[in-house]
Amino acid sequence: MKNVICFTVTALAAVLLSCSSGDRRSGVVTLDWWQFWTDPSVKPTIEQIVADFEAQNPGINISITDLTWANGHEKIVMAFASGTAPDIVELGSDWIPELSSAGKLADLTGDAAGDSADFSAWTPGTYDNQIYAFPWILGTRVLYINTVLMTRAGYDEDFVPFNWPQLKELCYKIDSLGKDMYGFGANAAEKHRLYKKFLPFLWSNGGSIMSRDGSFSTIASDKSYAALKFYKELCDSTGMVDTQRRLEDAFLEGKVGVIISGDWLLKRIRNEQHDIPFITALIPGPKFPGKSFVGGEYLAVSRQSKYKSAAIKFIRFLTSRDNQLLFCKANYTATPSSKTAAKDPFFAKDPQLQTFVKQLNLSKMPKVDQHWVYIEDVLETTLENVLYQGAPVAESLYEAKLEIEKIVSGQ
């Protein structure tokens, strides 16, 4: 019996030792990378880029863990809070301040200095003048217009609404085409989505949510009032109110004339082989083309990572011009964070992708704020109340301002 126990203990110890020291003996570093690209049409490209990196860097292995947008945020925050965060993590642009302000991310300021000129959209990755995340793939929203409905409404096929009155008139005329026909696809009170559709109208009219120093809210302004009033009128008079996915379904079925969406819809149209006749156009402002919302995926390194330099090496490889292009082509994505990649002929020769590239230059991100999760909640509740529960615009904006200031002041 004693011999059996001795043998078992020795065998277990040998197995454990071989597991724990193998990498160290051979000098191979394994980096954990948590990422969100699980789509079967994109994942092979991610794996190919990783394989290329490992081939060029024999001392570094990358272990990929897939996350989903449904619960990725929870998993990431839990992992950081419990000290089990991966070396490298892909983050949504509005999640970064939450982690950087809590000191969970490695400061990449020095490492990013050489790259800053070629990348756009550093702002979400920056907190307190320090850089904590590299921009990777960005995503903006543009107008999608059904050209058949537009011509039936009396417009030329190449008409593009440049300003709010033109947009409203176009939507109104399409809406008048028939009973089950709608002019504008208005987002229902969907979490994390509704505010992204309103902010372009707010920004295009010169409005904002927070003051420059972030100490008070500027949402209760005449500019915000005009923007929200216009958006409400557009939704009320011509809108089909539904979730983003169902609005896109309705657009593809030819029931909605105009919707706001991202480049994922381009990809869907291509992959599902829809023969819908459409054009993409810049989001109109009150007088001229206006601003759109831009979000993006960023790459950050955990502060606890023992292999910071290897992690940064991988991030540089992933965000290099060539690999961003490879990724964008595979994913039919129009908005790389690399400025030189965005100039590639691949984007220029495709008019739909070109709209996204142009819109990206006219896009904004919400101000970096550690309280953003709460501010977003207030914003969405305000929009829900005004758009779908008949709350008065001016009073609701003022209440939102008070709520946001309560949050910012820590009450």
């Binding site: 809070a81 809590a102 009170a189 539904d242 999760v373 779908y388």
Partner: protein, 287 residues
């Protein structure tokens, strides 16, 4: 004897350890957190006494979620219980194809809630079958679908919940009906009792323990309604419930202290409801 006790303890040890580690400890720890301002990403936290509980009682979002939870509980339990009893009485009779009906009613209870919620979200939307049926019947359904309207969203979720759970409770009632001695009915028939009289004087009183069991477990389940709301509306359109509020506070904003306090308020409410139900039924129950 001592050796046998020791062996017995060894066998029960895994269960005891898992109970202590994964049930009792989290339960007591969350009670403790309810008295702190613990947030996941903060390095430290402080004891705040009853502050979280006091803040919750004036938090509009929490009060709305409690109101919705009460509407859900009070709206679904009577309908579910009465429908389940009615179906059990029907199914108990012998008729051709009885098994098919029994399986059919029970089927939703063994289907994943997420799947059911997704299917119903489609049925309730503009152009969905329920929406079209309502239109055909001239009921003027909400323009944007049942789930995108404050007046109908919660009630639509409640209707789905009744449909889903009625089969399970029907089976429990059926088991209760089977356990009632046939002699009682025979004696009643000899005494000239009709069907209604037998139901009122024999079936109902003898089903009271079963009804109590169903009402108590359904109450606890209904107070914890979450998945339906999470999948179908994400708490929008006046459908946020207490557990959804706890989820939002705990796993979206990571305010663990606040969320724990809310969870214990819900725990207290469920405990009070269950006690009241036990008291009410115990008065005249035949066990």
């Amino acid at each position: 004897m001592r050796a046998r006790n020791f062996t017995g303890c060894l066998f029960t040890l895994p269960r005891i350890i898992s109970f202590l580690l994964f049930w009792l400890f989290p339960l007591l720890y969350s009670l403790l957190l309810g008295f702190t301002d613990y947030r996941l990403m903060r390095p430290s936290f402080q004891w705040v006494g009853f502050d979280n509980f006091i803040a919750l009682l004036s938090d509009r979002a929490f009060l709305i979620s409690l109101k919705n939870t009460f509407i859900f509980v009070l709206g679904t339990i009577p309908v579910t219980t009465v429908t389940a009893l009615f179906l059990a009485l029907l199914i108990e009779k012998k008729f051709p194809g009885r098994t098919i009906f029994r399986s059919g009613y029970f089927m939703p209870s063994i289907t994943a809630m997420v799947v059911i919620a997704l299917v119903f979200a489609n049925l309730y939307s503009r152009g969905g079958y329920i929406y079209l049926l309502a239109e055909m019947l001239g009921l003027a359904p909400p323009e944007n679908g049942f789930l995108l309207d404050n007046r109908t969203a919660l009630i639509s979720i409640m209707a789905m919940d009744v449909w889903m759970s009625v089969g399970y409770y029907m089976l429990i009632f059926l088991a209760g009906l089977k356990s009632i001695p046939r002699e009682l009915y025979e004696a009643a028939e000899v005494a000239g009792a009709g069907a209604w009289c037998k139901f009122r004087s024999i079936t109902l009183p003898l089903l009271k323990p079963v009804a109590l069991f169903i009402i108590v477990i359904n109450t606890i389940k209904s107070f914890q309604v979450f998945v339906e709301v999470f999948v179908m509306t994400k708490g929008k359109y006046d459908t946020s419930t207490a557990v959804y509020f706890i989820y939002e506070s705990g796993l979206n904003r990571f305010e663990f202290g606040y969320a724990s306090a809310a969870a214990y308020i819900l725990f207290l409410i469920i405990a009070i409801f269950s006690l009241v139900q036990f008291r009410l039924f115990r008065r005249r129950a035949i066990w």
